[in-house]
């Protein structure tokens, strides 16, 4: 830490008035807002400001002279805050004035051309892309649908969901983003699809999987049952002696995309009646399975 007397260029015996004058003299040259492009001046100004902070306060100066605090004791001085120059350079500074170069812009072809070109670029710059998340019910994602997003800034956006859209897929809606600040085209809306799970359908690639509960009678004797598909119910033939875990394929009943259609896989699940059934009980009690019927013989 430099000696504050040295920084301000005053003698140890300088009066408060001399300290003040010295500080003002330096501040006028070094203030960062009067030297917006000069990083060095900010460093120097900080030194000068903290030296002044120390020497302009009689109590601090006395303690420094007495060796009670060192020069960096003044370092804890309240910072100046952020300088105006950090804001003034940004676009849209309302205080900015073109008075400093208006004559060049008119008279000098090169400068005028450069300015015109950069303004033209700014004018034609597109608007920002906006990101949205769209929750899509499972069946709408499989079959396609039109959804309306209500925009946070008001208004709505119609989104055509193509059939077979996948979870996490991002759709780009050209020109539906933020308007351009100038005359450029608006940005795009980027809509990320979140597919909601279905109560009984699941999707693997372009195939649909579903678990279909059947009664023990349907499992034993076979028969036709109604199986759900993503486009409605279809009649499905259950073969005799079906088991839990047997999977039947419904060709072409999966997800339809441009590449073609997947299949639906129906996994059977034999379900016992929940309530007691005296008839079933008495039948099974009187039934002796043949010796060949031992489901655990492999174990």
């Amino acid at each position: 830490m430099k000696d504050p007397y040295e920084v301000l260029g005053v003698a140890k015996t300088a009066t408060p008035e001399e300290v003040r004058k010295a500080y003002r003299q330096l501040a006028k040259k070094l203030h960062p807002d009067l030297n917006p492009g000069d990083k060095h001046s900010e460093e120097r100004f900080k030194e000068v400001a903290s030296a002044n902070d120390l020497l302009s306060d009689p109590e601090k100066r006395r303690r420094f002279d007495a060796g009670e605090i060192n020069a960096s004791g003044a370092e804890t001085a309240p910072p100046q805050g952020r300088y105006y120059r950090e804001y003034a350079g940004g676009a849209g500074n309302p205080y900015e004035s073109a008075g400093g170069y208006a004559d060049y812009a008119e008279a000098d072809d090169l400068f005028a051309d450069l300015l015109r070109r950069s303004r033209e670029q700014a004018r034609r710059a597109p608007g920002a892309d906006l990101h949205y998340e769209l929750h899509v019910p499972f069946l709408d994602a499989v079959n396609g649908a039109t959804k309306t997003i209500t925009l946070p800034q008001g208004g709505t956006l119609d989104v055509d969901i193509p059939s077979g859209v996948e979870d996490g897929q991002v759709m780009r809606l050209r020109g539906k983003g933020a308007p351009a600040p100038g005359e450029g085209p608006p940005g795009d809306a980027l809509v990320q699809v979140v597919v909601e799970p279905h109560r009984y359908f699941t999707r693997e690639g372009d195939d649909i999987h579903v678990e279909l509960p059947i009664t023990i009678k349907e499992a034993a004797l076979g028969g036709e049952v109604r199986a759900p598909t993503t486009t409605g119910g279809v009649m499905l033939k259950i073969p005799r002696r079906s088991n839990t875990g047997d999977t039947l394929r419904l060709k072409g009943k999966g997800v339809k995309t441009r590449k073609g259609a997947g299949d639906e896989f129906v996994r059977l699940k034999v379900v016992m009646p929940k309530e007691a059934d005296a008839e079933l009980d008495s039948f099974l009690a009187g039934w002796t399975p043949p010796a060949s019927y031992d489901p655990r013989k492999e174990m």
Partner: protein, 95 residues
């Protein structure tokens, strides 16, 4: 946005002073809302005005001149940086 009370507190100025600054167009708060609203830029500018007045002994007449020159300088700096950016952009295009 900063409201007026907050602004006075953070800039360490009183109401009367602020009225003078606004009348002199040294500070131009946004007037789109029913109450005055200030930006961080306004706050930093207020700090600069205080620095000029109290730390450098600039009087009001001088302050007006200085602020005007600073505003021109920032306009010039931006025009220059725009022009440089445009030159670079143009250079990349190869034409």
């Amino acid at each position: 946005m900063i409201d007026e009370r907050d602004f006075l507190q953070r800039a360490h100025v009183d109401q009367t002073t602020l009225e003078v600054w606004i009348r002199e167009s040294w500070i131009c708060p946004a007037s789109t809302t029913p109450e005055r609203a200030f930006t961080d830029t306004d706050l930093a500018r207020a700090n600069l005005i205080l620095d000029l007045k109290h730390n450098m002994g600039v009087n009001d007449e001088g302050l007006d001149v200085i602020l005007h020159l600073i505003d021109q300088m920032h306009g010039l700096r931006r025009a220059l940086s725009d022009a440089l950016a445009s030159l670079r952009e143009h250079g990349k295009g190869g034409s």
